[in-house]
Amino acid sequence: MRYTNFTPFDLVLLAQGLGVSIGLFLVTTLIGTLIGIALGVVRFYRVPVLMQVVTFITELLKNSPVLVQLFLVFFGFPNFFHINVTPVTAAVITLSANTAAFVYVIAVSAIESIGRDQVEAARVFGLTRWQVLRHVIAPQALAFSIGPLTALMVNQLQVTSLISVIGVMDLAKIGANLNLRTLQPFIVWTAVGILYYLAAKFVALLGGRLEKRLRAYSSFRGL
């Protein structure tokens, strides 16, 4: 016998799922952003072979479905390398790598957005390449890239829903389970959709605030 009605506990389940989704989103965003920036720096220093390898791998990651990447890590890695991969590990690896690939592109274009004359002027003053990166490029590049980064984050938050396919108990998976039990797809998926929507809006809001603050010094103050 199965219990087909909604119970108050379903709300707890949904909150739990949302927590898992957001937690994984935060972790993978953090790791992905750090790796992406590191790769951008590799490109900035024009490290010979490494640069081409990075470009190739990021292109591959950007131009293939996240679902396939997930399957490769979750089903392929244990089979090929004989290691144990749990769904959460697979999710963290895949989403971090995917985010890193996109952050890399943003980092590269942000670094390139700073005029050559600034870099040259700084070099003439005797700053090392690292000092130029740290004191001249980084602050401006950060303000430049916060917009694209926010858009990316909103997108990556939605991509996290795919990890439900390999069995991580995130919001989408909880939705699928509730749907199976109650057989009320409209209510369940609407609730899940609203939660994702609100989360995405919240990320966009935070990004907008941050952008405003970072751009405060360069914005038009009026005459």
Partner: protein
Amino acid sequence: MRFDLGILRPYVGFLAEGALLTAEVCVLALIGSVILGMLVAIARTSSVRWAQWLAFAYVDLFRNIPFLVQLFFFYYGLPEIGLYIDAFTTGVIALSIAGGAYASDVIRAGILAIDNGILEAAEVSGLPRRVTFTKIVLPIALRTSVRPLGSVLINMILTSSILSTITLNELTGNAKIVASETFRPFEVYVVLLVGYAVLTYIVSIAISALHRRLNRDLVEQVS
């Protein structure tokens, strides 16, 4: 374990079948989303307040909810209201609606980029508003948005892999079957990953060529 692609030789035809289905879904969904995107872009640029609001709500909603959730909503929800359609049709509909939100933004940008002088010239020539729109505004807007629409298509190809979760055996779905028949998921998914990347790369080259060809008389503006 050795990396051996020879295992996949008997399955090439099977995978090609899947790729063909992916192509079919994407072409149909592209047509659907461009039509939908056009209508929504018209609503968003119209002077009717409620149409503007409705169009904005649609775009906002479908861009901020994960495609997986949208897909499940349609796949499990539509039979609930007495609409029994197969996975293929559901997939095309869901992809069209999700893609339509992105396409409408692209086309809207194309419409807003049209020089006011052109509209004034049409008005002075005494053309009715409807003719101005269908014969002047829309052709120019569609023409200049070929390249961004191409990236919508590429995104769609990648997103279509998610349709494998509703039992539609397109490229990813077939690859899953091959992986479970050969017990070599690593090889299968590596090939699939590279396959998608190559596929989207070819599409992007084709789109660029088409864009340049269609806009050859205003190269200096769009290039």
